[in-house]
Symmetry: D3
Subunit: 237 residues, 6 copies
């Protein structure tokens, strides 16, 4: 039995609330249980300097946590003057994941910056961020479409992410913080709506894992991401 009492293949209660930010071109408050992330998408009329003249745009992401999103208050990164390695790693992952489903040529010479700010954390903030950021980008591009700012099909597919872990030898889906801190292995999967794998990050925290466990984790992730994509589709109907 896992600490949360959930079956091994059950997601937490997930919700995707659109249009929560008055000013942003697209926004989504994503909740995976007690993990809450506010995702906003902001358009800039120009791509980054290295893409000017290329006909292509760019999608990038920034990630942050409010200092008391966590059980113990963390130092504010703005005050300490640098973003941690963890922060940089996560925002690079979110950006790569979104670019996997956005057609940068159809986007044209624009830049979309997605901000994923963790309002409350209980494990899985990076996978919740990817899942919610997709909705923010989707709405942002809809906003751009209605202004004829983009090509015909700038979004190729859905993208969503989930964590899977091995807890006391058993693969379990969507770890909360209590589960994550005791898991032997922690893995994050990012997949498209059609089931292609975009990113795998798997780390043995204790004992190394084997191929069978990897296969089992991948199956759980596929199931969880399937549900997340279904929810995304419901929300943007």
């Amino acid at each position: 039995m896992r600490p949360s009492g959930r079956p091994a293949d059950a997601l937490r209660a997930v919700s995707l609330e659109r249009g929560v930010a008055k000013h942003a071109e697209g926004s989504c408050l994503v909740r995976f249980g007690d993990t809450h992330v506010l995702c906003t998408a902001s358009v800039e009329e120009k791509p980054p300097a290295w893409l000017r003249g290329s006909g292509k745009g760019w999608v990038t992401a920034e990630y942050g946590m409010l200092p008391r999103a966590t059980g113990d208050r963390m130092k504010r990164e703005a005050a300490s003057g640098r973003q941690s390695g963890r922060t940089l790693e996560i925002q690079r992952l979110i950006g790569r994941s979104l670019r996997a489903v956005v057609d940068l040529v159809h986007l044209g010479e624009k830049q979309i910056t997605v901000d994923c700010d963790v309002i409350q954390a209980d494990g899985g903030t990076r996978t919740a961020s990817v899942t919610g950021a997709f909705i923010a980008v989707y709405d942002c591009i809809a906003w751009m479409k209605s202004r004829n700012m983009v090509g015909p099909k700038p979004i190729r597919d859905h993208i969503a992410a989930v964590s899977v872990g091995i807890y006391r030898g058993t693969p379990v889906l969507d770890l909360d913080y209590a589960e994550d801190s005791e898991a032997e292995t922690d893995a994050n999967f990012v997949m498209t709506g059609s089931g292609g794998i975009v990113e795998i990050q798997g780390t043995a925290e204790g004992r190394p894992f084997d191929e069978a466990q990897l296969t089992a984790m991948l199956a759980l992730a596929r199931r969880g991401i399937g549900e997340l994509v279904a929810l995304q589709k419901q929300v943007i109907l």
Copy 2:
């Protein structure tokens, strides 16, 4: 007629939502119209180094804005590596305001850090922050009381804040962003529940103001802060 259509002496719709952050010892989501600030209060068992052995505690504040809290996306301070002068100025004001009503001896050798993070901005974020931070600190100290961590009366009074401006020659209460950007004078008042003035910051953006206008602004502020304190009292009943 002011842009918001409100009478000169009317606050925006204000709400104070307690207990919104799962992990924090005290928290409050304060809304002044479309300005939304999440205030959390975090206890540390030790005061800052310069107070060790003094028998006194400390209350301090940090302030931040999510990058897309505003109409145009602002650079993330954590990414640029430094907090702006505006940020530092505001968080110093919030800290001073809270310390004006907390008895640092009764608090004992502890530190309370209040984080005020602007989720959405529409003018008056610093005054909303002070008003909401009071509730977060109140609940934090209640949490400490229930664990016998503080002296008998660590909170001496309420504290709340409001902005007042001179818009086309007329003093008006609680400016939203549209009003603020056109006001000739912008002033922030911080007062206690019993009506004492704790802080005045008044700046002529265009034409200088005179004593009569200062008096009129003070009267409006007193009225607005009276309503805010009444609301605080309702909320913590």
Copy 3:
């Protein structure tokens, strides 16, 4: 009786020494008793980027203290790698105050940067800075006029500043450091030569203050600033 022995409404000995810096377009060494601030004004041929093409210029200020300007040596901000919140707050105040009396259209697309460096501190460094910076800017603009670099009337009025405090219940003018550290309330006033209020910053350090005390402080400030403006006029005759 206040620690300095001065009557409640008496300024310290104030002097404004012009032309003290060989290289600067305008300069003034201002002394309020033992508080000595060197103010220099430097012209740049271009305004900041966001004003290019607007026809308008800009006046900005930077503030610093020599490490041993104070009783205890302070860390050098250049060595610690960041300016403190207090420094940023003061230099923003000086800049706003000067812009209140400079006509940015008549200034044209130029920038004046005023550096206020505290050589010795004994309370009231920010108000001394504003008062001396006016002379530096005045001389800088005279230098520009003699080269036909500005419009007909780039300076609209005088600007000066003074601190007022409540010391043992009594409002007193122009606090030195010993008085400031014991005052219940500390307020800074910036006014024009014609008596308009440009900035009020009042903070209760101990007990809150009331409207009568605010009025009394304003009256003292008006008197003190009147004397300072008279002295400025004498100096630039």
Copy 4:
């Protein structure tokens, strides 16, 4: 045919040169073809502060590239004042990988810091770093053993890493820079000597990949890491 002309399952010429740094307790210059990384291991008598009194030690890593290790000169991170997200991500990976095979209790309250500095880069610097760092740590712990500084069995297993990619649809082992920049998918695998998986990082740069491709990449990685571990064993005989 891949650009390097190697068969799909062939490593580049790999060498591990021990004892190359006069001062370090352990060192290894690892070469994967034209990728050359100098790995040194340095002992500190104390673990990091958060492990004091725990009886446990720590192994950590730092990573850097000489500015002209690459085809175009990169900005020196010491000069720009911050380490890039890529650098932080890589050094976190190296540290985690080494800790997977070091018994921190047998290590005792010491810290080993491994520095991996890329002298010349041609793809695969992070996997070369892990492979070479193992030798540096091994020799460092041998040095400590000979001084009775560690418990009986501080190293549990070998650790090595290799990159695998999908190049024009075919999985290929150990990508050099030319291959890496055209690969559709780039994955890094870290495994122990006994074949346990410690870390997988797989990223689709172009088209997403599927489970069959993941399985094929894992098989190639297992083969390559087997050869690398065999080479490590030869070197430390």
Copy 5:
């Protein structure tokens, strides 16, 4: 004929004004013509961490220039967030020079920090700083002596410095800015009162120099430093 019109072996008008800073334990305003440097010496009761328990003290220096000390305004180092290489180089030189004549054992476990802040620059700021800093340290140690804080003879000798250059082929003493910017060689000499050489820094800006020129520059420096030491003696009589 050199630009200043001075004979090749003539110093500018030099003055050393003691006791100019109200708060510092020792201070000196040194003027070499239009180069004006304020030197203050501050005592700390503890030496730096690496000297605790050694019985020895430390003397260190920091150097800065006011932004408009120079012909063109320079960026404020506190604002740009880092001290330039030039600044660090100069403050290291000043510290080394002072330590050459202070007996760190007789000083005991204290630290003296000398701040040399250039109020106005016209060439030779580092050599003026060394020369004035000696007086500030001398007075600081006298202050310490009168409080029995130091051993019997903490100062072993005088220390002073001067620049020498080769201007159109001729060695000249004590270059001002106009001379310095055209000199083929620029050298700084630091010597003790008894004529020992403590530091030579000579740089060919244009053509390399030869041994005869070095000898001639040394002779000029010896003469100039002799005069500076005589002036120091006069001042501290």
Copy 6:
């Protein structure tokens, strides 16, 4: 007898290995005994901004040490976020030395950046850097010549450097770390192939030195640099 057992006028074993870096336009691994520095020269098509349109190019240098190049591991400058004063001082010296022999007009509007990275340190890293950097620049300019990127004679002379010290009263050439840490005086000389002096930096660490000692050190330096230049000539034949 000096610690190294070398005669007073003997260099350590010196070698200059060209073409060691695959990517750089010029490179040299210089060894002075156990001091090993990798020097690379990188061409940029544009000079720094302040030289655009001048017809002149620039040569600059950066310097770094691998963290475990030294007996005790040093903090990585990229991680601490700033380069030390020592680093900045050394890289300024290397740049000045190289510019003394490169004709910036013949170089044309290009920039050469030399990176000197200390792989292993045993005293004299800055003088080894200058000596090796010359070879890297030489080869870089040869590379440019073969592409018709430079004027007819961009290199005017050789440049090399050596340290000299006074060890127990005797001048000795080319100090290693053990000698350097006990020397009373430490001096670095940079000279051209034709014997002109480009830079002297001499510092008394203990007792001051006199003119006779300076002359003796200069003679030793001249001898040592003569040998280094002869070696450079051999290498670039």
